[in-house]
């Protein structure tokens, strides 16, 4: 169920909040959360509801076994259990997400034909699988003990605000909130504001820009002028941030409404001064996951190796980061692209970069980030060349594919608010106003309510499909 649907905003959300807070015993609130999360998931993806149950069972019981084994100080058994849990999680993810990809590789290498149809991917599987692995590793590393209550554990793993697109949350980050879910009016208010802001970002800006980018990236790049190609790339750069950060804002906002503090996922990534800085600001929970559970253990395990250890570890981490985003070569290359840049930065370039003008640092990071989105957005690797050609004006500044032929001229004004909301300016202004008493705050609250109503008109307008009586 999308957060931006009428069903979610006007039925699921109010019903969930009412049920959550009318339950007199706080312990039962997690039960409400689990039940509503199952409904939430099954509303969009009913065929895969069993995958959620499997994931809950694997991680809950493996966590419990691990905990018990560790108490008995049988470290080898604990290690074996930890690996079994991780492998089971990865098998679940690998089977459902990557089987087709690997079989294609086998088909390409060996002279065989494999009759295999890739099943549809369960929604959010990459997110809840990574949450499960994080939980097991934290139990193994004694960051937190295993949760004994199955309902409490399930509410951590499949909590609907973060179920489909994160933020990837560690158990320890919301453990206390899960133990004592409570109503905090101030959090509720901040949550509502955050939700409205995210909804507007997603529906008004990201969805509008996506209409333009979908048109551009489905066109023939060899007929495209540089003006359209650059507009498409900039619009996509904004769209992907506004879409994902808008979703995260909604998720964090809903979490706050229910008394949970979910971790932040973005910190204005487009003002980064280097690519290392970018990955500290973009999809922070995924970056954090790879840093804690892969990069640091790799560094530790290979501490005796001196030659290019950090660089090769970065490459491994970002190869897997790319692969996490999708079972497709373009994501793998996107990951390698960042791995190489980060390896170069780690080899001393980052230090040199800090000595040059901040404007150059921003420009350097932004250009590389924007180029990176080409690999991410265009899944057909064979088309990259013609798109790069269009960018450098190989087909002229204007060519056969124009703003008018694609009917996207009117999306140009969306770039201005898109850029404004990708920079900290608007956020700082809102924070400044919020912290003060008086008219400014009243105006801000009115703006939020009007923004909410305005966003609703966009949502309803999308559902308007006048019948052209083509059948007549």
């Amino acid at each position: 169920m999308p957060f931006s649907s009428i069903t979610f905003i006007f039925l699921f959300l109010p019903i969930t909040i009412i049920l959550f807070y009318v339950i007199p015993r706080k312990g039962w609130r997690n039960l409400v959360l689990v039940a509503t999360s199952l409904v939430f998931f099954a509303w969009s993806d009913p065929q895969h509801i069993h995958v959620l149950f499997i994931s809950i069972m694997i991680n809950y019981f493996m966590g419990r076994f691990l905990d018990r084994t560790q108490n008995q100080e049988a470290s080898k058994k604990a290690k074996w259990l930890m690996w079994t849990g991780i492998i089971l999680n990865l098998l679940l993810l690998g089977f459902l997400k990557y089987t087709g990809f690997f079989l294609n590789i086998i088909e390409a290498i060996l002279p065989i034909t494999i009759d295999y149809t890739q099943p549809t991917l369960p929604l959010g599987i990459s997110f809840f699988t990574f949450s499960g692995i994080a939980y097991l590793l934290d139990v193994y590393n004694k960051v937190n003990p295993a949760e004994k209550n199955l309902i409490t554990f399930s509410s951590y793993l499949i909590m609907f605000p973060k179920l489909l697109q994160g933020p990837i949350t560690r158990f320890i980050e919301i453990k206390e909130d899960l133990a004592q879910p409570k109503f905090v009016p101030l959090d509720m208010m901040q949550g509502v504001r955050r939700f409205i802001g995210g909804l507007a970002k997603k529906v008004i800006l990201a969805d509008s820009l996506s209409m333009a980018t979908n048109q551009i990236f489905s066109s023939n790049f060899s007929d495209m002028g540089a003006n359209v190609a650059w507009f498409g790339l900039i619009a996509y750069t904004l769209q992907i941030y506004l879409d994902f950060s808008g979703y995260t804002d909604m998720a964090i906002g809903i979490g706050q409404m229910l008394g949970f503090k979910l971790p932040e996922n973005f910190n204005f990534p487009y003002i980064s001064r280097s690519i290392s800085d970018f990955w500290r600001r973009w999809h922070m929970t995924l970056g954090g996951w790879f840093r804690i559970y892969l990069f640091i253990p790799l560094e530790f395990a290979r501490k005796r190796e001196k030659f290019l250890r950090q660089q090769s570890n970065l490459l491994i981490v970002f190869l897997l980061t790319g692969f996490w985003h999708g079972a497709s070569w373009n994501f793998v290359i996107w990951g390698i692209y960042y791995g190489i840049i980060l390896a170069i930065e780690a080899s001393g370039f980052a230090k040199k970069l800090k000595k040059v003008s901040p404007i150059f640092q921003h420009a350097y990071a932004l250009v590389l980030i924007v180029i990176g989105w080409i690999f991410f957005r265009i899944t057909d690797i064979g088309s990259w060349g013609s798109f790069f050609g269009a960018l450098i004006g190989a087909h002229g500044w204007r060519s056969a594919v124009t703003f008018r032929s694609l009917n996207i001229l009117f999306y140009i004004p969306f770039l201005i608010p898109g850029i404004l909301f990708s920079l900290p300016f608007m956020h700082r202004l809102a924070e400044k106003t919020k912290s003060k008493e008086g008219v400014g705050r009243i105006v801000l609250d009115i703006v939020y309510i009007l923004l909410f109503l305005f966003t609703l008109t966009f949502i309803l307008s999308k559902g308007f499909t006048a019948f052209m009586y083509a059948e007549f």
Binding site: M1, S5, I6, T7, I9, F10, L11, L13, P14, I15, A42, W43, S44, P46, Q47, I49, P185, L186, M188, M189, V192, R193, I196, S208, M211, S399, A400, V401, T402, R404, S405, N407, L409, F410, Y411, I412, P413, F414, E437, R441, D445, Y448, I449, F452, F454, L456, T457, F458, L460, S461, G463, F464, T465, A466, F467, M468, Y469, A470, E471, F472
Partner: protein, 424 residues
């Protein structure tokens, strides 16, 4: 918590609770038929006949069967889809809010086009329909002619060739109606590198077998467009219909020398209280003055009409002429007045000839059928989209016709696609 924060929270929750409360109080839209969208709005209770069956099972104590039924409905996803559709369709003040959103879209479009000298601008953000503000006319973008278009044309040309050689005793006629999208005069042609610009008809003409007669209703400029077509609808108006009828009459006359006298209307009548806001206005919700709705009045031969063999009245012409019609905005007067059909339409008329004709066409052709039927004993009409299994050989085995006429625009006349295909 400060007072203003409570107000903010209170307002937000009042808004999000308004819909479930409105539903619980039994609130429904004034009309359950959306005229502007041409569809029945989804209603929760009407969307779930299966749930009713499940409730019956529960009353009968068959809890297992009821659970299985609901579970299958849920896991199949249809319950959710219908519920989402109903939740959106039944939203209070839905249409005014959509109008507001469209108004915002238009302001954004104005802003985007403010720095250009374009005489034609997008009418909204979703429909791919444009407005010529000076003429207050809504139009489609130019049609594209690419390699696939030529392939589709070649397939149709081969089919025409086969048909005409298979049935040498039948007169085959094609009447092409040039629309703005496929003409040289479309004001946006210069922005579309692959715009048709009238090239397709030239290719078609030069490759069509000479066993088939071809007539064309050309579009020589925007003046023709504004004179013969509605400004708010994709169809032609009465002037376009009558011009096409005259052209078709002359075309048929070439092989039907004894054709009865051409029909001349007694008068052209404009309904004073109808403001026709057609398909383009509906799709864009562009605030535009409606078209006058003008029809011909004249003595037509008595005909028995049947659709798929069922006799009936398949238009509202008589009702309109006695003043029995509605003036609700966005009502599709073209369809209501000129009629529609679901399968093979047949006119059996009291005429002095025993000749028959098959007309293949679309909604453009529908108003022409009563006029063409004046000259034949039997007139058959088929819209290929409604009868995908239609083949000429099957039809001609069952019916005896002397003339075949294909009439329409680009899609109907000269391309073979999955939807539009002439099967010999």
């Amino acid at each position: 918590m400060r007072k203003i924060s409570r107000c903010f929270l209170f307002t937000f929750f009042i808004i999000i609770l308004s819909l479930p409360v409105y539903w619980l109080l039994g609130g429904k839209p004034a009309s359950q038929v959306s005229i502007v969208e041409g569809r029945v709005l989804a209603l929760p209770e009407k969307s779930y006949p299966t749930l009713q069956i499940a409730l019956d099972y529960i009353r009968e104590g068959q809890l297992g069967d009821a659970f299985t039924l609901v579970w299958n409905l849920y896991t199949g996803g249809s319950l959710q889809r219908k519920f989402d559709a109903a939740a959106t369709d039944q939203f209070p003040l839905r249409m005014p809010l959509i109008h507001f959103s469209k108004a915002f879209d238009r302001q954004t479009i104005s802003l985007a086009y403010a720095f250009s000298n374009d005489a034609v601008v997008s009418a909204d953000m979703t429909s791919n329909i444009y407005i010529i503000p000076n003429e207050e006319a809504l139009i489609f973008p130019p049609g594209i002619l690419d390699q696939q278009g030529y392939t589709n044309m070649d397939e149709r040309l081969i089919n025409y060739d086969q048909i005409s050689s298979l049935y040498p005793n039948i007169n085959f006629n094609i009447y092409y109606v040039e629309t703005l999208a496929y003409s040289q005069v479309h004001p946006l042609n210069r922005y579309f590198a692959n715009a048709d610009k009238g090239q397709a008809i030239e290719y078609f003409k030069s490759n069509l077998t000479d066993r088939i007669e071809l007539g064309v209703m050309p579009l020589d400029g925007m003046k023709d467009q504004l004179a013969n077509f509605y400004r708010t609808d994709h169809h032609w108006n009465i002037y376009g219909i009558l011009e096409a009828y005259n052209g078709i009459y002359e075309l048929l006359k070439q092989n039907f020398v004894n054709i009865s006298e051409k029909f001349t209307p007694d008068e052209l009548y404009t309904f004073p209280d109808i403001e026709f806001l057609g398909s383009l206005a509906r799709k864009t919700l562009y605030p535009i003055t409606g078209d006058p709705f003008t029809v011909y009045i004249g003595e037509l031969a008595n005909c028995i009409v049947s659709d798929n063999g069922i006799e009936g009245k398949y238009d509202c012409r008589d009702e309109y002429l006695v003043g029995n019609y509605q003036t609700t905005p966005y009502l599709d007067h073209y369809e209501l007045f000129f009629g529609t059909q679901t399968g093979l339409l047949e006119y059996n008329c009291e005429t002095t000839t025993n000749r028959s004709i098959l007309v293949i066409g679309d909604s453009y052709s529908r108003p022409l059928i009563p006029l063409i039927a004046q000259h034949y004993q039997q007139t058959f009409f088929v819209d290929l989209r409604q009868v995908p299994e239609f083949t000429l050989s099957n039809f001609l085995n069952d019916h005896s016709v002397e003339d075949v006429l294909v009439v329409g625009d680009y899609e109907v006349v000269f391309i073979d696609t999955e939807v539009w295909s002439i099967h010999p």
